[in-house]
């Protein structure tokens, strides 16, 4: 055991009571009587020579010593016995309780009173000194364990320190239960229900010989300390156990927060690494893509020098490079969203604006599809990250264009729906395969397993991640009029007021 409890040896003034503590009350009485008789015997031969007043002094001294050494009751016995012995052996007529000079009655009374009072005072002082000694010892022990607990580096060390303390101080066993569940390795003398009750109530409970103490830390109850002491405990010892439980609770809580701090530091470091890898990756991917897209475009624009088939090839090259760039953008966006390195730049703005910018961004990509935008004029401002919602809309529009017939209509609509505003993108395609499942929003899942329509199935997954981050929802439906529709619900919140201007 690595725990050392340094309990100082009792001071010398306490040695006698320690010795006397081991005597039974009967033996203490006998010792007290013996002391009085011995003093009487010692003084008897000097009877002619000693003044009676001095004999009284000898007896009073005896009572005082008995009180200090043996305690209150033996002192009372010694007081009474001293008066009797003095009367019988030293007051004429000798060897009789009778008194010739009535003056001695006053001597007896004063002697008895003095003996009783000094005896009482001495015994009380002695008891208080012993109490103070015990208290000091316990305080020292608690201070020592507090010091050790403050240095504990993990729960196991806390356990060892507490077990050492209980063994040394209470000659008993104990078990430290962190959390509210009792593990399989718990001692047989534990009552799990009692542990749970103490944990829930946060107050000390005693069940037979076992004391259950809640580990009440400032934030919450951190567990239960069950103590099975070697002998029954008095109030002061229970109070000491309460003190121990608080110390342990604080130590356990401290260790808990140390762990939390370490974990969050690790997470921050991991996140930083992730986002620096991502930005390096996106830079490395973007450079060749920029060159590819640009050069392919340059070849197409240098058209006069190219024959028909070569021009077609150049166009295909340009379009495919553009698609590759879009794909990489989607992949990187998804990686950023997954890595949690995206901070939303949410601002209050009209939905109409982001619809407009998405349409402009897509430009020719919508091909020959007819586009209809149906936004009510009185839509409230919504709070969102325009760049991310623009990506959602672009993905949904690209999907719509991909799955609907070449000249099919694509409808962008919005409507109020309770606490949300619903923005929908509908197409004239075959609709979503029924029954609907949330799977379409998962990565790399596509509506039609072996479709010839190009795509990775990333689009909807990104949309959902973005909409989730905004506290919104996404669903798919096949409207009665045919085609498919994706509905994005964004929370309305409480838009700020823009004061109307006076013309």
């Amino acid at each position: 055991m690595r725990v050392l409890l340094l309990i100082p040896s009792r001071e010398s003034s306490m040695l006698l009571p320690t010795f006397a503590d081991q005597m039974s009350p009967r033996r203490k009485m006998a010792t007290s009587a013996l002391a009085c008789v011995l003093v009487g015997l010692a003084a008897a031969p000097l009877r002619g020579w000693l003044d009676p007043a001095n004999v009284v002094m000898l007896f009073l001294l005896t009572v005082l010593v008995v009180a200090v050494v043996l305690g209150r009751n033996p002192a009372v016995l010694a007081a009474v016995l001293s008066v009797l012995l003095f009367d019988v052996f030293f007051v004429p007529p000798h060897f009789s309780l009778a008194v010739s000079n009535l003056q001695y009655l006053i001597t007896f009374a004063v002697m008895l009173a003095t003996a009783l009072i000094t005896g009482h005072l001495a015994a009380t002082l002695q008891e208080q000194a012993a109490d103070a000694g015990r208290r000091e010892r316990r305080t020292r022990a608690l201070y020592e364990i507090a010091r050790q607990l403050a240095g504990a580096l993990n729960d196991l060390q806390v356990r060892e320190i507490v077990e050492g303390f209980i063994t040394a101080e209470f000659a008993g066993r104990c078990q430290l239960l962190l959390g509210d569940a009792v593990g399989d390795d718990a001692a047989a003398w534990l009552v799990p229900a009692r542990v749970a009750a103490v944990h829930a109530a946060g107050t000390r409970q005693i069940d037979g010989a076992v004391i259950y103490l809640p580990l009440k830390a400032p934030m919450r109850v951190r567990g239960v300390l069950a103590v099975h002491p070697g002998n029954t405990l008095d109030e002061a010892e229970l109070a000491a156990l309460d003190g121990l439980a608080s110390l342990v609770a604080i130590a356990v809580e401290r260790l808990h927060y140390v762990e939390v701090a370490q974990r969050s530091e690790l997470e921050t470091a991991t996140e930083r690494l992730r986002s620096s890898i991502l930005s390096a990756l996106s830079h490395d991917l973007r450079t060749p893509l920029t060159v590819l897209v640009g050069l392919a475009d340059a070849i197409v624009l240098a058209a006069p020098g190219l024959s028909g088939p070569a021009l077609d090839s150049a166009r295909t090259l340009r379009d495919q490079a553009g698609r590759l760039a879009g794909l990489v953008a989607n992949l990187l966006e998804m990686a950023r969203l997954n890595a949690g390195s995206v901070t939303l730049r949410q601002e209050w703005q009209p939905l109409e604006e982001v619809v407009g910018s998405s349409l402009k961004l897509l430009g020719d990509a919508l091909g020959r599809h007819r586009l209809r935008v149906d936004l009510p004029r009185d839509l409230p401002l919504l709070r969102f990250d325009a760049v991310l919602i623009e990506r959602v809309l672009c993905n949904l529009l690209e999907n719509a264009a991909k799955y609907s017939p070449a000249d099919g209509e694509i409808l962008i609509a919005a409507a109020l729906a309770g606490d949300f505003v619903e923005l929908s993108v509908g197409d004239r395609g075959p609709g979503f395969p029924e029954p609907f499942s949330a799977q379409v929003f998962e990565m790399f899942v596509r509506g039609d397993g072996e479709s010839t329509t190009p795509g990775t199935g990333l689009g909807l997954a990104i949309c959902r991640a973005i909409v989730d981050a905004h506290g919104g929802r996404m669903r798919i439906e096949n409207p009665a009029g045919g085609g498919g529709r994706v509905v994005v619900s964004l929370p309305r919140g409480e838009p700020p007021v823009v004061e109307a201007e006076v013309m």
Partner: protein, 231 residues
């Protein structure tokens, strides 16, 4: 200014420089190249540069530092090349004095259009602007504060008119939210972007054919707005 405009490319990727050189040569530009910020500043300091194409992520420093330094002695146009996910950088660059940006990857057509617009603006600077501006079916008389659309007068509020005038004064140029808010509403409004968005919405509703698909008052998502005179 010589007949051939001189363009400085500050970009650390050799392949991108090569592609830009080809594209700009086709436009009849003389091209200067630098792969590092310091070299770029030296070349720009030698004078005679009509346009700077600047990549924001350079090995020896931030492109924004280049803009700040360059603006110390020149007000020549600066075109930023940056990635889509870096709105914050674009805004900082524009606020530092850059004139426009291109998002990588971009096509030659886009590049040529931006370069031409910037060169035109440079050529026009110093020429007294006319108080009457026309775009689409809208005529704005800035001096008389009159706006007509298809010959019909359009009523604008004072703030709407200030916003319109500011955008007309910077045709083809990106104006950051921050700049617009600070100039029109005052410095304490720079975080209240919803004012700007609502008022741009008003302008679109009053002056655009289809407010949801504007042709003149364009949104630069996450950055600001651009007024496009032609369609």
């Amino acid at each position: 200014m010589s007949d051939k405009p001189r363009v400085l490319i500050v970009e650390d990727e050799a392949q991108i420089r090569q592609f830009l050189r080809l594209a700009l040569a086709a436009e009849g530009c003389t091209v200067l190249e630098a792969s590092r910020l310091a070299d770029g500043l030296t070349l720009a300091g030698d004078g005679g540069v009509d346009l700077v194409l600047l990549d924001l992520g350079l090995p020896d420093g931030d492109g924004i530092d280049f803009i700040r330094a360059y603006r110390g002695w020149s007000d020549g146009p600066v075109l930023i090349l940056s990635a889509r996910t870096e709105e914050r950088h674009k805004i900082d660059a524009l606020d530092a004095g850059a004139d426009d940006y291109l998002t990588k990857p971009f096509g030659i057509g886009e590049l040529h259009a931006r370069v031409r617009a910037l060169m035109r603006r440079r050529a026009r600077s110093g020429v007294a602007a006319s108080p009457v501006v026309e775009f689409g079916e809208v005529v704005v008389d800035l001096a008389r504060r009159l706006v007509t659309r298809r010959g019909e007068p359009v009523r604008l509020t004072p703030i709407e008119f200030r916003l319109l005038a500011m955008m007309l004064a910077h045709p083809g140029q990106v104006l950051t939210q921050r700049k617009l808010l600070a100039d029109i509403w005052g410095p304490s409004y720079v975080e209240s972007s919803h004012y700007l968005r609502v008022y741009v919405g008003h302008l679109r509703q009053k002056l655009e054919d289809d407010p949801t698909q504007p042709r003149h008052f364009l949104t630069e998502t996450g950055v600001g707005y651009r007024f496009q005179p032609g369609s």
